[in-house]
């Protein structure tokens, strides 16, 4: 019984320690951001591996999520004769929730895990140490560009996801379900508010992008420098990012739409 409390206590202390390290780490990384200004190439490189290489999965998932939403929504709405509102249903679910959240979850799996593994391996193979000994701060050279790139890439990916989702829903609704073309768009336009829906979605994905990249680079930097440590850190990145995104989504939704 005492063992249980000891375990609980140790776990609690551990997680507080990690939280503290993560915060200090973030502050140091943020302090490194100004040094990127004269060297945009570093960020562009990371935008490529974080953003461009995630495009495929985002495009495919976006289109399919949109099409499925249309099919499912149609079945429900048609019983009330409200299938004209299909566009509204799809657009609001994508813009407010699915776009930012699903993009963030896919991001954690595709880009976040890769970030953690890359930085973790750099640590394991002494590349970070080597950099320090060459008087190059890995915080500025390695961590800061990745953090910034993740922050920039996420809202763009989420916008692409939502847009393609709506397009996918449009094709399914109009071509196969027989929803009126004009009604689909006009209903959507009168119900969707730019500030309320589109911008709030963008704000959400900015927050998610920040948190997801923070977790990914921190886990990589903080990992135990062994192959097992890297693999555990990679798993933690995906799990922690997903949990953080879902939790934050609840809070943000409550604040924005509550």
């Amino acid at each position: 019984m005492l063992g249980f409390f000891a375990l609980l206590g140790r776990k609690t202390l551990d997680s507080f320690g990690r939280l503290g390290r993560a915060t200090l780490f973030l502050l140091r990384a943020l302090a490194g951001l100004p040094s990127l200004l004269p060297r945009p190439t570093l960020v562009i490189q990371q935008l490529y591996s974080i953003g461009v290489l995630s495009l495929l999965i985002i495009v495919v998932s976006g289109v399919f999520v949109g099409m499925v939403l249309a099919l499912q929504g149609y079945n429900t709405l048609v019983t009330f004769g409200a299938e004209q509102s299909l566009g509204v249903l799809v657009a609001l679910s994508l813009l407010r929730e699915l776009g930012p959240v699903v993009t963030a979850l896919l991001f954690a799996g595709r880009a976040g895990s890769a970030l953690t593994a890359e930085i973790g391996l750099m640590k394991t193979t002494e590349q970070l140490s080597g950099m320090e000994m060459m008087a190059v701060d890995p915080m500025k050279r390695v961590v800061a560009p990745r953090l910034l790139a993740g922050f920039i890439a996420m809202p763009l990916l989420a916008a692409i996801f939502s847009f393609l989702g709506i397009m996918g829903a449009y094709v399914v609704s109009v071509a196969t379900l027989g929803v009126d073309d004009g009604a689909f768009w006009s209903q959507m336009q009168s119900a969707v508010d730019f500030r309320e829906d589109v911008m709030n979605g963008v704000i959400k994905s900015l927050v998610f992008g920040f948190v997801a990249s923070w977790i990914a680079v921190f886990e990589g930097y903080d990992c135990e420098p062994t192959s097992e440590g890297v693999s555990r850190a990679t798993t933690r990145t995906v799990v922690h990012t997903s949990l953080a995104v879902l939790g934050l989504d609840f809070v943000l939704t409550a604040v924005m739409f509550g």
Binding site: S129, G130, E132, M133, M134, A135
Partner: protein
């Protein structure tokens, strides 16, 4: 302990005084003092696990000692601010055991890295400098290869070219000979000595390879159990009376360091109750 002749203080590049360092309750160093002189190849030797690599990291300022001081080029490493420490590190080169090459960059880019980071040299000049450094380690022809295509010995030579790219004052080698075949070992031995003399460096070699290190070192410090047990030239150490140094230098399997790890006697283990 040999009493070294009193040198001029400017000859001492690295001065380690009464260094104590603990990690996770384990004592690694307990009052280590040693000096590294200009122009020499100084070897720090000792069995695995005596914290030789840790010593290099303490000198490079990557770790903090519990007590004692490390003075490099007249500056107390652990009293420096981050910027001053980074300025000091530009004058130190370090060759890691793994090479620590950037795996996503070619050999050329790896060697160019410190030049691009710390200088504003135009691209053609960087190109020439990198090729000269690669020429010095005999790998000019491998400039477009990726680190994963290199053999262990070649990777270490590339790392060496990168470490000397900024013409450091002090070069530190972490186990440069570990896990190398005889040919690349020979190449590295000659390279370390040649670079030291040609570029006017001072080198610190951390190693447990007695034969190779003895060939090139001017001074050897032998570490054991957190202390310097003996210092001197390779010849002096070879004549040492200390049983421990004898065992280490001649690679004898049994001696003060027992062949058997401490445990219950064999009879007890075999015949004892299971």
């Amino acid at each position: 302990m040999t009493s070294a002749p009193a040198d001029k203080p400017s000859d001492v590049l690295v001065d380690v005084k009464n260094l104590c360092f603990r990690r996770g309750g384990r004592v690694i160093f307990e009052g280590v003092s040693l000096q590294i002189r200009r122009g020499e190849v100084t070897a720090i030797m000792g069995p695995s696990g005596t914290g030789k690599t840790t010593l290099l990291r303490l000198i490079g300022g990557q770790l903090r000692p519990d007590s004692g001081t490390v003075t490099v080029l007249g500056q107390n490493v652990h009293k420096l601010g981050r910027d001053a420490l980074f300025r000091l590190r530009r004058r130190m080169g370090m060759l890691f055991q793994s090479g620590a090459l950037f795996t996503h960059q070619s050999v050329f880019e790896n060697v160019a890295f410190p030049l691009r980071e710390h200088t504003d040299l135009p691209e053609p000049l960087i190109h020439d400098l990198v090729l000269m450094k690669l020429q010095a380690v005999g790998l000019r022809g491998a400039r477009d290869m990726m680190p994963s295509e290199l053999s262990g010995g070649m990777a270490r030579r590339v790392a060496l070219a990168r470490a000397v790219a900024l013409d450091p004052t002090i070069m530190m080698y972490d186990e440069p000979f570990a896990g190398q075949d005889p040919i690349s070992m020979g190449v590295l031995v000659t390279l370390i000595r040649r670079l030291n003399d040609a570029l006017g460096l001072s080198s610190v070699v951390v190693s447990h390879d007695v034969v190779e290190t003895s060939q090139i070192a001017d001074t050897i410090h032998v570490l054991s159990e957190g202390r310097v047990v003996e210092s001197g030239s390779p010849e002096e150490l070879a004549r040492s009376e200390s049983a421990w140094v004898k065992q280490f230098m001649r690679a004898l399997p049994d001696g003060p360091v027992a062949f058997h790890y401490p445990g219950p006697s064999l009879e007890d283990d075999l015949l004892g109750v299971r």
